[in-house]
Chain length 392, copies 2
């Protein structure tokens, strides 16, 4: 186990009808003028938009609005939000939506008190040293951004999708009502499930030895997510299953499952090129890239893939045939992704084979010549993983 810091100061307010508390919560955290940040029209259709505004108004707070966040959120709207927040003296941002809306809100929160270009945080030219407060009402369990310090923004004209983060960007509070996710289409639910599982895999596939307690916690979470996913295929309004998935998405990324180990995140980097080039749903890209990454790097740690296969995918514990067991675990992961409607090949995800060199080239721009900690990879390895992901 390595030395670690675990810091997750966000207050999570979880359960039925909890969005009704948003006005009171904003008040208790000192908000006066709130920027309501959201995506398309879905929160208006479901009535969430009206309920949230009513609650904020009842608390006597002012509201400024900025909708229009797209999946894979763009820098353009962030610039707009920063200007608007400055002009209107906004002191609190409330993101109502999924990871894209929350990430966009984080970038705005960091950009407001910063004198330079907010992209500096993504270019590694500057660190976030101040931010206005933010909170969230989660509508898509997936990215874990409601409990994380991280954000990912796409610079539209250069096609760059990059991450940054700071503990200053952790939400003050996050409201998570599983019922709000009943209306999510299964595709989006499934993409979210892949996303949260991937957040666990990026931590699970680690070279740090003997962090057995968190290994077991991660396995417990993965097993519960898979079980709940099948329950949702039968009944999208299964509250307990929705609740399990919502909470799993949060803890998969608030840090508690990563304590004491080196994390990797190379598969996320491989995927970011896909969603930047094709505007592919992040979860769908991860469903393609993770099995390929695992297959390519099986030999790095057969023992680890063996315990994943046995403890999460229920493969028999035949220790005479560890590699076969490990491989069967990866096959079952693919089968699970397919069962919930996700693609597991680049072909099925709508990518073009001839784009692979381009993907590798952009990866080089974003990550350099080599990357990865569980497996140390070169650009040549990345190319082979993309090829493996093509149709295998």
């Amino acid at each position: 186990m390595e030395n670690f810091r675990f810091y997750s100061p966000t207050e999570f307010v979880f359960g039925k009808d909890t969005e009704q508390e948003v006005g009171t919560l904003l008040s208790s955290y000192g908000a006066r003028k709130v920027m309501l940040h959201y995506g398309g029209g879905s929160i208006k259709k479901t009535g969430l938009y009206d309920r949230v505004k009513a609650s904020i108004r009842d608390a006597g707070l002012e509201i400024v609005e900025l909708g229009g966040v797209k999946p894979n959120p763009l820098d353009g709207l962030v610039y707009e939000g920063i200007e608007l927040a400055k002009r209107e003296n906004v002191d609190f941002i409330l993101a109502v939506g999924g990871g894209s809306v929350i990430d966009s809100a984080k970038a705005i929160a960091a950009g407001v008190p910063y004198s330079g270009d907010f992209w500096d945080f993504f270019d590694r030219k500057a660190k976030v040293e101040d931010a206005i407060a933010l909170a969230t009402i989660l509508t898509i369990p997936a990215a874990g951004s409601e409990g994380s310090p991280a954000m990912v923004i796409t610079k539209e004209d250069e096609g760059l999708k990059r991450g940054s983060g700071s503990n200053l960007l952790r939400p003050k509070f996050s409201i998570i009502n599983p019922e709000l996710t009943y209306t999510l289409p299964m595709w989006q639910t499934a993409a979210g499930i892949v996303d949260m599982m991937s957040h666990i895999f990026e931590r699970y596939l680690s070279k740090t030895e003997d962090v057995i307690l968190t290994d077991r916690m991660m396995e417990a979470t993965l097993v519960s997510v898979i079980e709940a996913s099948y329950a949702l295929l039968n009944n999208p309004e299964d509250y307990e299953a929705r609740a399990t998935i919502c909470w799993a998405g949060t803890i998969a990324h608030n840090g508690q499952l990563g304590v004491g180990r080196e994390e990797d995140w190379v598969t996320h980097a491989l995927e970011h090129e896909l969603s930047a080039l094709y505007d592919m749903t992040h979860g769908a890209g991860l469903a393609v890239m993770f099995p390929a990454y695992m297959l390519y790097n099986l030999e790095e740690d057969v023992e680890r893939f063996y315990r994943l296969a046995v403890n999460v995918f229920g493969v028999g514990d035949n220790h005479y045939q560890k590699k076969h067991v490990a491989l069967e675990g990866i096959r079952r992961l693919k089968r699970f992704f397919n069962d919930i409607g996700m693609p597991t090949t680049l072909k099925a995800a709508g990518a073009k084979k001839e784009d692979i060199p381009l993907l590798v080239e952009t990866l080089k721009k974003n990550k350099g010549e080599s990357f990865g900690s569980f497996a140390s990879l070169t650009l040549e390895d990345a190319k082979k993983i993309y090829e493996l992901a093509w149709s295998e």
Copy 2:
């Protein structure tokens, strides 16, 4: 799953040599004059006391000292601490020790800005509405107070041991270096292990249905703690085992394992009467009371004791004989407590059989005529549980 709030804002700084960072951390949290609160001489013997003082002085902060906290911390020293802190304008309390020291520090932190008698918080006459900041350096993994809002203080002249708490009393940061626990005698290590396992049992034994993700997280934690305990019997300086136990003690009580379920805490109440009357080590008292409580209440939820037996104690999953399996799980828990040197009967713990009516009488003073949520108990039930714990 029930609605819940999860709020654990404490920054946990975990690992080797982390106590060296205490001065810098105190500074970053705005401390100027720090009250160093501790117990007996052990931190002086190990050199921790000198290292901590040096780090605080290097950060340019002033120090006021108050040692002398005893296990089952007493109200007398709390009054003394409140006076001292006021007189010296202390703005931060650093507790260096185990749960008793941290709880004493919390009571002082709450008492300083309060105009009345701090015991009002324990008498339920007042709520904590303000507190000075506190932080901890943990030396005994057990109570989980380093990450919890809770505190337990004994009112010496009335023999009352009572709990209270507030999110305002959560430490700003807690430093946890597993190496600092190498010198703990096995008795104290074992008492701590029982304590943290009991914090999990108070949550695990719940009537709330379908919080399967946290059920599994708790089982993962219990399995890891038991495994690490046996490792420590062989080698008290096994870093990974110490680290597992330290972190398990923290997460057992910072709230993350209790999300979404009704918690119970009746066995803690039964035990508090023991440690108040005999000055018994809390963990030893719990090792006596939990198996008796479980046996007495087996029929409340055989399924739950069955899964505990199978998933934590490795009893075969014979679903034709669930009650036998469940009973064997409780027997294995007792055997485990005995293996690590804990008593599992009142007799072995040094209690007197003729005191049982007195224990019940004080319980009545503290908890009233009936209590408990997993099992709803009367004073007559409590008497029977004490009797069952006598020599069974």
